[in-house]
């Protein structure tokens, strides 16, 4: 049976991972297989994990302010390794003016502060609605 696999990742030196864990749990409750990277991972580590785990989606969480550099690097590496088919999304303390920049490098959606958990779940449900089983 096909299950949608999602990697939730924390790039960089930021240790604030409550959001990432809450999202991970909500996605499990919505029927996804979620792999969590844990904190302080490099973009290289994250992309290698996404490849080995063969995920369908990759969600990045960053609350340190370094999202432009880190998120962009992840998007570049996915392209380099031929896995830019993986659905990319992100969240954290991301100012509104940075969102278009991230969408431009390949992010499908960014969830800034005040986004609800449900929005993320709904977003993935919509993206994978033709592929859901069970």
């Amino acid at each position: 049976m096909r299950r949608i696999r999602v990697l939730i990742a924390k790039p960089g030196l930021d240790g604030h991972d409550r959001g990432a864990k809450v999202i991970s749990r909500a996605l499990m409750d919505a029927g996804y297989e979620v792999i969590y990277t844990g904190i302080r991972r490099t973009p290289e580590e994250i992309v290698n994990m996404a490849i080995e785990e063969d995920v369908d989606a990759l969600g990045l969480s960053c609350l340190s302010g370094a999202h432009l550099e880190l998120f962009t690097r992840v998007a570049e590496l996915l392209k380099e390794k031929g896995r830019d088919d993986i659905l990319l999304f992100g969240g954290g303390t991301i100012p509104k003016e940075d969102i278009p920049k991230l969408l431009k490098v390949g992010f499908k959606k960014i969830f800034p502060p005040d986004s609800s958990v449900k929005e993320t779940v709904d977003f993935l449900n919509e993206e994978f609605k033709t592929q859901r089983v069970g």
């Binding site: 049976m1 096909r2 299950r3 696999r5 991970s24 749990r25 996605l27 499990m28 409750d29 919505a30 029927g31 996804y32 297989e33 979620v34 792999i35 969590y36 990277t37 844990g38 290698n48 994990m49 490849i51 080995e52 785990e53 063969d54 390794k81 031929g82 896995r83 088919d85 069970g134």
Partner: protein, 308 residues
């Protein structure tokens, strides 16, 4: 991404290309036709593998411990695959796979994959045996399987591993637990974690004396701390020695026979039994079964008679 052709998958797995191995495992895990085809082709290219099973209750520190031993073991044995199992939610069918986050010492020669148990009881996923066969045709020939956290009766891993480490931590009961069948019986090595806790030493002594008193087999018991590194090297050495012992004697082939037979049984269940149930669902007979209109005992006898 375009779909990979069968030949690309076969070649990629044989080469140990992590990208393709990742894709191939998904095909097998999802029990797709492509996945079965791949297994069929790769079966002729199996190599000798060694499977180290690591099991124990939730929270004893299995993943954290693996992170501490992985470097030493992969330096000794070369390319290493880590398969990390966590439970599937019985409510949503999803899973939170939270083992990999503990692994921080993985280098280029280590391949890691997280697996949900997908409703299967026993601490492992129902497709694990096939994934072991798949990986055996790749260069990753030392394979560590971490089970989901287990209780007393979940011994699935012992059918597929050549060496099984059962992990416990201080506070998990008294020596009566050692007398019970199930989990404790499948251990080849016992590792007690959290050796930095103040009650660890007395727990360790209790297990050690219980094991020497009640167990037929001689089982080494180690006290380790992933926090301060105590005892870790001794376990690495113990695994290296045990592996050599097993591979040097008749035991390896006995364990392989068991693994092949168990894999065959899993295959019958996954391919034949599931097909049967599906065909009953399709032709509507299952509705009659639910309503009690079919004598199920008679019906099964008929099916077996026609089939044999």
């Amino acid at each position: 991404m375009r779909n990979l052709k069968l030949k690309e998958l076969v070649d990629g797995v044989k080469r140990g290309d992590k990208f393709i191995l990742g894709k191939a495992i998904t095909l097998v895990e999802n029990e797709t036709e492509e996945g079965w085809k791949l297994l069929k082709y790769l079966y002729e290219f199996r190599n000798k593998i060694f499977v180290l099973g690591i099991t124990g209750p939730l929270g004893v520190g299995k993943s954290t411990f693996i992170d501490k031993i992985i470097k030493g073991l992969s330096e000794e044995f070369g390319k290493t695959a880590l398969l990390l199992c966590d439970p599937t939610s019985p409510i949503s069918g999803g899973a939170f796979l939270g083992d990999r986050l503990r692994i921080k010492n993985a280098g280029e020669n280590i391949f890691i994959r997280s697996m949900a148990t997908r409703g299967f009881l026993g601490g492992i996923s129902p497709t694990l045996p096939f994934i072991l066969d798949l990986i055996s045709s790749s260069p990753f020939r030392f394979i560590i399987v971490e089970t989901a956290g287990v209780g007393q009766g979940e011994v699935g891993i012992s059918k597929f591993s050549h060496l099984t480490i059962v992990m416990l931590s201080p506070g998990l009961g008294d020596e009566i637990q050692l007398l019970k069948g199930g989990l404790m019986e499948i251990s080849d090595v016992i590792v007690i974690t959290k050796g930095d806790y103040k009650e660890a030493e007395s727990f360790f002594r209790g297990v050690k004396s219980g094991v020497s008193l009640y167990f037929k087999k001689k089982i080494p018991v180690h006290l380790v701390s992933s926090f301060n590194g105590k005892g870790i090297n001794e376990v690495v050495e113990s695994v290296i020695n045990k592996k050599r012992e097993i591979e040097g004697g008749k035991e390896y082939e006995i364990l392989e026979e068991k693994r092949r037979f168990e894999t065959f049984k899993y295959l019958i269940r996954e391919r034949i039994i599931k097909n049967f149930v599906e065909s009953f669902e399709k032709n509507g007979e299952i509705e009659d079964v639910k309503r009690g209109k079919v004598n199920i005992y008679r019906r099964i006898e008929e099916i077996l008679k026609n089939w044999m």
